[in-house]
């Protein structure tokens, strides 16, 4: 990153000039930079100015951003296939009018309407062109659930009419929420789906991060955001093709775009200026500069509040050495990591967003709230941390949390290295594994004369004896050993309110007869066993009922087996929410539904004689037999939540039979093409609600 030279004294002029501005009534809205709004809006200072300087793109022309990942504007490629032309024209003329709080400055204030049209025409030529076509059917209701549970509302406002999370009544809108543009005017269902499926295509700076969504989920969220309540995407408003522009106009637009230096923020064809625009010269006049209310033509116009201006000026005047930690604060605020994570007591969910984080109740807040980032570069091994930031599925160790950590694939290495550089302690006492103590570590992890780790923690596929706290069998692949030592000595110092008890209060062991009660040796022995030991901790019963019980917590579990009352091609689907399904793949129809516990896989997984199995519950409901010929089973697909859609072909008709569980009901949606609705049977003894659509029907099975 280039380092510009600030000459603070030359900014005295600007300061005077702002004094003039302060007396003016500024009623217009201002750019919304969440890290600034949250932490600095009340006291204009250099730290707040630093965030603005980065996030308003000032640094892109002037240099001097100190954030880990620089801010950039979105890619404008394919804009003519994704965005309404009218919207673009209006946005260029006044960004704030099309998107409240937009950080895009007005650059068109000196342009004629015709010139704005030319710029638009040129932008319309960017990219290789997209051929977006409506595909699968959408479900806005599901999209609403996803939008409000996955973590979107950590940054964006909940939808106005959303009544949840379950039972919480009014939705709470944070003044920090990053607004959406009027999406219905800006874009289409298909284009928004395409964008959400991988925001990094166009938003390269990670400010709008990538959340792992499958094709159905991104479409459903798009449908929710556009309030598209029908199912067939062909019924949604289609994108209006941009009219073909004349070449002279395109060329004129191109030269305007070059002149306006759009390339400083947006990745567009052309060459970036070799030199940054120096800040050493004072503004020549009281008007005309980019901080003024009416910059001259060609200079970006930001509708800053006085406080924002003051903060920026304070930042530019600031020639003090940076406080330790100020740089990290800046980066976390810029990327809005603070929306979900606390670091050194700063940030974390707000009173408005906190209720939207859900997880497993038995784990308390640590089962639902994202972990703190305090010392994260000291806690996690660099490679693991990079994997978390990349969004690798196997690095997701908290399956019980509904909020999904976004993926910052492009920036994972930069961010991971950065955290490590900031946090890694080099003076911590290391752990020394004594080979003779490793077996003692096994005992210590267990419940027979140990410190009972397995009472709460899972061990690989072996469930804990109590709550399903995260798996500790592979801690050695995630944690740094010195951090592990310090954490065990005092868990609450890392995470106040953690359920993890202090097992060595004041460094004293609760098992004084093991290794002379030496806390250091005991901790090293536990680490040594996790890293190098063989077998599992003592205390798991040999024949623990449910040792191989499958319990769906976040995602459905799908398991094939031989099942009584279903057959030899039984496909069991266990849903979170204690409603489960057995599908008969040989007949192409559902066979059983049951409530309660799901299934014990021991015999299916490990027993040679492969006996016929039964659900792990007596609360079983059989589907009525059908008099019709069964269809041919063609397999199943799962959506991003793991819900299955079974595929049947029958006499030239393709039938899809989808199941999911919501609010203690089993929801079954059938779609087909071509022809008439297929006849299906239902489970005996349950209430059935039916909702028909053109080529689909949804049955909701519920229990009184």
């Amino acid at each position: 990153m280039s380092v510009p030279i600030f000459r603070a004294q030359s900014w005295a002029f600007a300061f005077l000039f702002i004094g003039v501005l302060l007396s003016r009534d500024i009623s217009h809205a201002s750019p919304h930079v969440v890290g600034y709004e949250r932490f600095h809006v009340d006291s204009p200072n250099a730290a707040g100015g630093a965030i603005l300087f980065s996030e308003l793109g000032c640094a892109n022309c002037h240099g001097g951003s100190d954030v880990a990942v620089p801010r950039s504007g979105p890619s404008l490629n394919d804009i003519s296939d994704r965005v309404s032309r009218d919207w673009v024209v209006e946005f260029l003329k006044d960004p704030e009018s099309r998107r409240k709080g937009s950080t895009m400055p007005n650059l068109a204030h000196g342009l004629s309407d015709e010139e704005v049209e030319s710029v638009t025409n040129y932008l319309g030529t960017l990219g290789k062109g997209l051929k977006l076509r409506p595909g699968r059917h959408a479900n806005a209701e599901n999209g609403s659930a996803l939008y409000h549970e996955k973590g979107c509302v950590a940054c964006h406002a909940p939808t106005a009419d959303y009544r949840g999370p379950a039972g919480s009544g009014e939705s709470l809108t944070s003044p920090l929420a990053i607004s959406h543009p009027d999406l219905k005017k800006k874009t289409t269902l298909t284009a928004l789906d395409y964008f959400l499926s991988n925001p990094a295509r166009y938003r390269t700076d990670g400010r709008m991060p990538h959340i792992a969504l499958d094709k159905q989920e991104s479409l459903d969220i798009a449908a929710h955001l556009l309030d598209f309540q029908a199912s067939d995407p062909r019924e949604a408003d289609a994108h209006k093709a941009w009219p073909k522009a004349g070449e002279p106009s395109v060329q004129k637009g191109k030269s305007l775009v070059a002149k306006l230096n759009c390339i400083a923020c947006h990745a567009i064809p052309g060459k970036k200026a070799d030199t940054l625009i120096s800040l050493s010269a004072p503004p020549e006049k009281d008007a005309g500069h980019c901080l003024s209310a009416s910059p001259t033509a060609g200079i970006p116009s930001y509708k800053l509040t006085e406080a924002q201006r003051s903060a920026l000026v304070a930042f530019l005047k600031d020639d003090q050495p940076k406080e330790p930690g100020s740089r990290e604060d800046l980066s976390l605020a810029a990327m809005n990591c603070y929306a979900c994570h606390d670091r050194n007591g700063i940030g974390g969910p707000t009173i408005n967003t906190n209720p939207f984080f859900h997880g497993l109740e038995s784990l308390g807040d640590s089962g639902r709230l994202p972990p703190p980032l305090t010392g994260i570069g000291d806690k996690l091994q660099t490679e693991w941390l990079e994997g978390v930031l990349t969004g690798k599925p196997k690095n997701r160790v908290r399956p019980y949390m509904k909020t999904s950590m976004p993926a910052y694939a492009k920036h994972a290495k930069v961010l991971a290295d950065w955290f490590v550089k900031e946090d890694l302690k080099t003076d911590s006492p290391p752990i020394t594994i004594r080979p003779d103590d490793i077996e003692v570590g096994k005992k210590l992890l267990g419940i027979q004369g140990g410190v009972n780790c397995i009472t709460c923690h899972n061990w690989g596929e072996q469930k804990s004896l109590g709550i399903p706290a995260l798996d500790i069998s592979s801690l050695d692949q995630r944690l740094r050993p010195h951090w592990f030592r310090e954490y065990l000595l005092n868990p609450a110092s890392y995470r106040p309110g953690t359920l993890m008890p202090p097992l060595w209060p004041q460094g004293k062991s609760m098992v004084p007869d093991v290794l002379d009660g030496n806390a250091e040796r005991q901790i090293a022995a536990i680490w040594g066993f996790i890293k190098e030991g063989e077998g599992k901790p003592e205390g798991f019963p040999d024949h623990m009922p449910g040792q191989f019980e499958l319990t769906p917590i976040v995602r459905p579990i799908i398991q094939r087996t031989f099942l009584e009352k279903t057959g030899t091609k039984a496909i069991l689907v266990g849903f979170p929410g204690e409603i489960h399904l057995a599908y008969d793949g040989s007949k192409g129809r559902p066979a059983l539904v049951w409530r309660g516990k799901f299934f014990d896989a021991y015999n299916t997984w490990f027993v040679r004689s492969a006996p016929f199995e039964n659900p792990l519950s007596d609360d079983v409901y059989e589907f009525e037999a059908s008099s019709e010929e069964s269809g041919r089973f063609r397999g199943y697909k799962t959506d991003g939540k793991g819900n299955p859609t079974f595929l049947i072909s029958k006499e030239g008709q393709d039938i899809e039979d989808s199941f999911r569980v919501a609010e203690k009901t089993l929801i079954r949606t059938l779609t087909w093409k071509p022809g008439e609705a297929p006849t299906v049977t239902h489970p005996k003894g349950v209430s059935i609600e039916e909702k028909k659509d053109q080529a689909s029907v949804t049955f909701t099975y519920s229990w009184k």
Binding site: A212, D214, K215, K392, P393, K394, P435, W459, G460, E461, Q462, S473, S474, D476, I530, K531, E532, G533, E534, G535, K536, H543, Q547, I557, I558, Q559, R560, T561, F562, T568, K569, G585, S586, Y602, T604, W605, F606, V607, R608, S609, A610, F612, F633, R634, G635, Y636, K637, T638, D639, G640, L647
Partner: protein, 497 residues
């Protein structure tokens, strides 16, 4: 969890019983081994900690190794060729499958067998987890009997995807309604197209360099010892429990004669045009007790001087055997040789890596083996140090020719160094069968080629459809190193003219 220290010592222990005799020519690298010793026939067997990698299928997906397990998972192994265990990562791609026993790559997709179908696994959203489980092929009877396994698919040179189906055995077994004991290919509409019958437990398939498909069967009812067959349409491999499906409408052919049981194998084979003898017998105990996978070596010498030959996994002996085949009068026949042994668990699947090393996938599930671990995955690499082996044993009109991997010392070759006997088996419904009609043969007119690589000799009373067992004594290379494996077994179905 890393378990290097403990496992190493446990392996040394197991090697006491199954000593690796392959010398310095092949090195081993252990990717994963079960932490618990095996009691896999115990009704209460449970896996130990870590990944239960009971390997039942393997295929390479570019630089990753896809592995399916009997428990029903598919794992993607990252960096399987690394010598640094920390770099080898196991990522679960799919789970909940019904005892998959075969895994085949098809472009970006994976085909796996399950008990009731061949399934196409796809990862459409690219997140590393399968999200489509599409029925690729079905149409055989699954009664719920444990022994009614399904294997494959495996591709032959014409692009056919072959599937083989075990006979049921024991409770709930029903071999009467649909293709139990048959092999077939995947049809255009995903239907199972039956092609040939007479199989018992056809757990391994593999095509040779000419694209011809072979399968291994296991000793048991109607199968006296371990056979390797040339798999092709319209033939009968001998197990009469598969006959009921001949009555079905879709049966591809009729048997012109069902061979009578309780007669010598050569007579039974000659009595029925469809009855096909094994290309090679692997005599019981001498060459192991239960063949599994077939993998043809096609590695440009990177796996030693055996290109074109077959490796055969061996369950009970936790070993790998080697097979040389030649065509005599248009039909395959040839010899088998012991090759690699001392693996920590039963060898079930073999797969050559892009670098010419051999991945050896193991599980003791359902049986027992000399290896005392429940499962494991090892990599075997040729060190470049060519072993002294009988590379080939070829039939001649009046005897045999041996080809060695290195020049031998002609002085160690004599009539007393080559001892030859032949035998056959009884064709019967019994579970396994003894050798019968054993005869000693006289070896004469031995000649050693000038380069010391070939030895030709005459044998009296050659007889077709018999196994010729060669025991050598004292043969050494020109530089005084003894043969790694001194025995070979040639199945002489036809005598060349």
């Amino acid at each position: 969890m890393r378990k290097i220290i403990y496992i190493t010592s446990a392996l040394l222990f197991s090697y006491v019983f199954a000593e690796d005799k392959s010398g310095s020519s092949y090195s081993r690298f252990e990717l994963i081994t079960a932490s618990e010793t095996s009691h896999s026939r115990s009704a209460e067997w449970k896996p130990g900690d870590g990944i239960t990698l009971e390997v039942s299928g393997m295929a390479w997906m570019d630089d990753k190794l896809a592995v399916c397990t009997r428990k029903g998972d598919v794992w993607m192994v990252e960096n399987p060729l690394s010598d640094d265990r920390d770099k080898i990562k196991f990522n679960r791609f799919a789970s909940g499958l019904h005892e998959p026993l075969g895994l085949h790559r098809d472009g970006k997709d994976i085909l796996v067998s399950q008990r009731s179908e061949i399934t196409r696994l796809q990862d459409n959203d690219g997140d590393g987890l399968a999200d489509a489980f599409l029925t690729e092929c079905d149409g055989w009877n699954v009664s719920g009997n444990y022994h009614a396994y399904a294997y494959g698919p495996e591709k032959d040179g014409q692009g056919n995807l072959w599937v083989t189906l075990n006979l049921g055995m024991g409770d709930l077994a029903n071999n009467k309604i649909g293709w139990r004991g048959w092999g077939g290919v995947i049809g255009k509409d995903g239907e199972f197209v039956p092609k040939s019958l007479g199989m018992r437990s056809p757990s391994g398939m593999g095509a040779n360099r000419d694209g011809d498909m072979f399968y291994s069967d296991q000793q048991g009812t109607w199968i006296p010892a371990t056979p390797i067959y040339h798999l092709r349409p319209g033939v009968f491999f001998g197990n009469q429990e598969s006959l009921p499906s001949l009555e079905l409408a879709d049966a591809p052919f009729k048997m012109s004669k069902i061979p009578e049981p309780n007669q010598p194998y050569p007579d039974a084979v000659k009595s029925s045009p469809e009855f096909t003898a094994p290309a090679v017998w692997l005599p019981y105990n001498k060459m192991g007790r239960s063949a599994t996978d077939i993998q043809v070596i096609d590695e440009n010498g990177k796996f030693g001087p055996f290109d074109g030959q077959m490796l055969i996994g061996e369950f009970t002996n936790s070993s790998v055997n080697r097979v040389f085949l030649e065509k005599v009068n248009g039909e395959y026949q040839g010899a088998c040789f012991p090759f690699l042994d001392g693996f920590p668990a039963a060898v079930v699947r073999l797969s050559f890596s892009p670098d010419g090393s051999l991945m050896v996938g193991m599980t003791n599930r359902g049986w027992s083996s000399l290896g005392n671990r429940s499962y494991g995955l090892e990599r075997v690499s040729f060190t470049g140090d060519t072993p002294l082996e009988i590379q080939e044993m070829r039939a001649k009109p009046d005897g045999f020719e041996l080809v060695f991997t290195k020049a031998i010392d002609a002085k160690t070759i004599s009539e007393s160094a080559l001892s030859l006997s032949s035998y056959t088996y009884e064709y019967s419904s019994k579970y396994g069968g003894e050798e019968m009609d054993t005869k000693k043969h006289k070896v004469s007119k031995i000649s050693v080629s000038d380069d010391g690589l070939k030895v030709q000799f005459q044998v009296d009373n050659l007889r077709e459809l018999h196994v010729f067992e060669l025991q050598t004594t004292g043969i050494k290379s020109a530089d005084g190193v003894p043969l790694e494996h001194s025995n070979a077994y040639y199945t002489l179905n036809r005598i060349p003219k």
